[in-house]
């Protein structure tokens, strides 16, 4: 296999939880948002990261573009560890790493016209003169399905889907290699969601992009991703190619997620119905991350954390119960 474009190794980020006296004393414990996450994204690949809110998927995505500073771990991009780079050393690299936000409207400067918003990244990276920049802005506007007539409009004059197109345009204008899409379609109506997904996939093919697609909607992730990582409480519980993941689902949590996908034609067969809610992963948390809600949990699951192991070629899962299945 070729060298991955981006490699995350053992990423950790924790937030302190203070006792009743607040910050006067040392934190009582920590909330481990991301706890030892490793993944690889290859060139031209869409990697889907799926999980419930609070599982650390956004924190992971935001660490790559330096919006969050992780406590431990490495993020290797083309051989250099992004976390060790100074701001000046990072700047040329950030041309390759861009991000699309869930709430695109609030990610736009409300005082700028759309033309200026799109021109901004070009100015920052000193690309081209004024005429050239304007030509590129016009080009990208048509490419994402907005027309050139939006050049002088303000972002709040657009509809939700149009703003999301604008968000895509802004991320693409400096021709990045990897785009982190943080729930890019969750806030949109379903009919608009499909339009945006189509735009995103066709542009990906056209511009040879890699995507890290973060979402809670496994149906959407399945449609767009080549490989999928299922995240729960700060770690990956299962990772595989899309077909493989859906054909041979191993982890009970993934099974439960699949059961929640809309299926109108047949009566739902519910293999796993989840009880309870996602706990907080403090320093004292022991055992498998999923043992509090897993219907199959054993004593071993409560004390020992299973490792993410390759069970079939390219299919990894972190579950004590799956290990036997892999050997067989």
């Amino acid at each position: 296999m070729t060298k991955p474009l981006l490699e995350i190794k053992n990423l950790k980020k924790q937030y302190p939880i203070y006792g009743p006296m607040g910050k006067m004393f040392r934190p009582k414990t920590h909330m481990n948002a991301v706890a030892g996450l490793s993944l690889e994204i290859h060139e031209k690949e869409t990697y889907g990261l799926v999980g419930e809110s609070g599982c650390g998927k956004s924190t992971t995505g935001r660490s790559i573009v330096k919006l969050v500073t992780p406590d431990e771990g490495e993020i290797l991009y083309q051989g250099s560890d992004l976390l060790k780079l100074s701001n000046r050393e990072y700047k040329p690299l950030c041309r390759d790493l861009q991000m699309i936000f869930q709430d695109s409207l609030s990610s736009m400067n409300p005082r700028q016209r759309i033309g200026q918003i799109l021109e901004e990244p070009l100015i920052i990276h000193e690309m081209g003169d004024a005429d050239e920049r304007r030509r590129q802005v016009m080009e990208i506007l048509t490419k994402v399905g907005l027309s050139e007539e939006y050049f002088f409009r303000y972002p709040h004059e657009l509809s939700g889907g149009q703003v999301q197109r604008l968000g895509i345009a802004r991320a693409l204008i400096i021709k990045p290699k990897l785009i982190i899409c943080d729930e890019p379609v969750s806030a949109l109506d379903v009919s608009i969601q499909a339009q945006i997904l189509n735009t995103l996939t066709s542009l990906q093919k056209e511009m040879d992009l890699s995507l890290l697609f973060i979402s809670h909607d496994i149906g959407v992730v399945r449609y767009i991703s080549k490989r999928i990582g299922v995240m729960y409480l700060g770690t990956l519980v299962e990772e595989a190619d899309t077909e493989e993941l859906f054909a041979n689902t191993l982890h009970p949590y993934t099974k439960a997620l699949l059961a929640s996908v809309p299926d109108f034609s047949v009566a739902k067969k519910r293999e796993v119905v989840l009880k309870g809610e996602q706990p907080v992963r403090t320093d004292e948390f022991r055992g498998c991350v999923f043992h509090t809600r897993c219907p199959y949990a054993t004593e071993k699951c409560k004390t020992e954390q299973p490792e993410l192991r390759e069970i079939a070629p390219g299919h990894k899962a972190a579950c004590h119960l799956c290990e036997g299945a892999g050997n067989a």
Binding site: E52, S159, V190, S191, L197, H216, G219, S260, D263, F264
Partner: protein, 339 residues
Amino acid sequence: MKNVENQSQVLLEIKDLRVLFQGRKKLLPAVDGVNLSIRQGEIVGVVGESGSGKSVMSQTILRLREHESEVQYEGSILFDGQDILKLPLASMSKIRGNQISVIFQDPLTSLNPVYTVGNQMSEVLMLHKKMSKQEAREKSIELLNLTGIPSPERCIKQYPFELSGGMQQRVMIAMALACEPKLLIADEPTTALDVTIQEQILDLIVELNKKLGMSVLFITHDLSAMAQLCHSVRVMYLGQIVEEAATAELFACPSHPYTRGLLSCIPRLDTDREEELPVIPGVVPPLTDVPVGCHFCTRCTLADEKCREEEPPVTEVTPGHKVKCWKYGQTEKEKEAVQ
């Protein structure tokens, strides 16, 4: 679960409801001629995108938009034989929360942050049911227990922000049930929740509907949630109901182009990943620009001159399955011709 006796009494009947807002130049019809009836014990789903008028309709049933700028109503909303739109606002507060309860999308903003859960629940019970403090406390615990909160005794001492989103929504439901309402309006109750939690809440609503026999008006943009709990579904687009049918019927043979579009553009587990997702082209036009003929004609691939000029009639496909489309009969004939 899906077949409620047709004989059971009609609880709420909306007839030709129009809700008009005062725009800059003209009146804007947010709800434009809606007919809807809910029987006792029935769960009716209303599905639509943002801007379809589904929330305005639910707020109109509760008359929650009254204080706002100029709103005009036409038509009638009969609840238990009374026309809600003709009632004085003062007597509305007796119906609101008492006979008709509502749960909203964002529970945290609907709960008062400075009182404990117990305080808020007891207040409702003491006000509407004239209970003593002790009775109210016991009743609160009972209600919280009913909604599946693990330790209600602890929960009533907590403040809303100390609870997770799913728990807050359960508390909201418990409060809505406090006065044993005849109708529960659930306005996007699961949109802000995680999928696994969403299932739990939907199951809870179904269970309560069976146990208590109250009717539910379930409003959502999410078709999958519909499939799980509603007896019948209305699809709304730009202020009008374009299709109405029993849930199984609607998903088995959707007849309006809009419904079909909605169903096909959601990525499912059997969607072909190599193909482009089918889409409904364009966007919902703003209320200032509602098309003259069929409201959907600007985005419909089948639309022709007639669709753009004349409003389509409501056609009955099979008993109980109605569709508002000029093309309906024709496409059926075409299908037959192909066969």
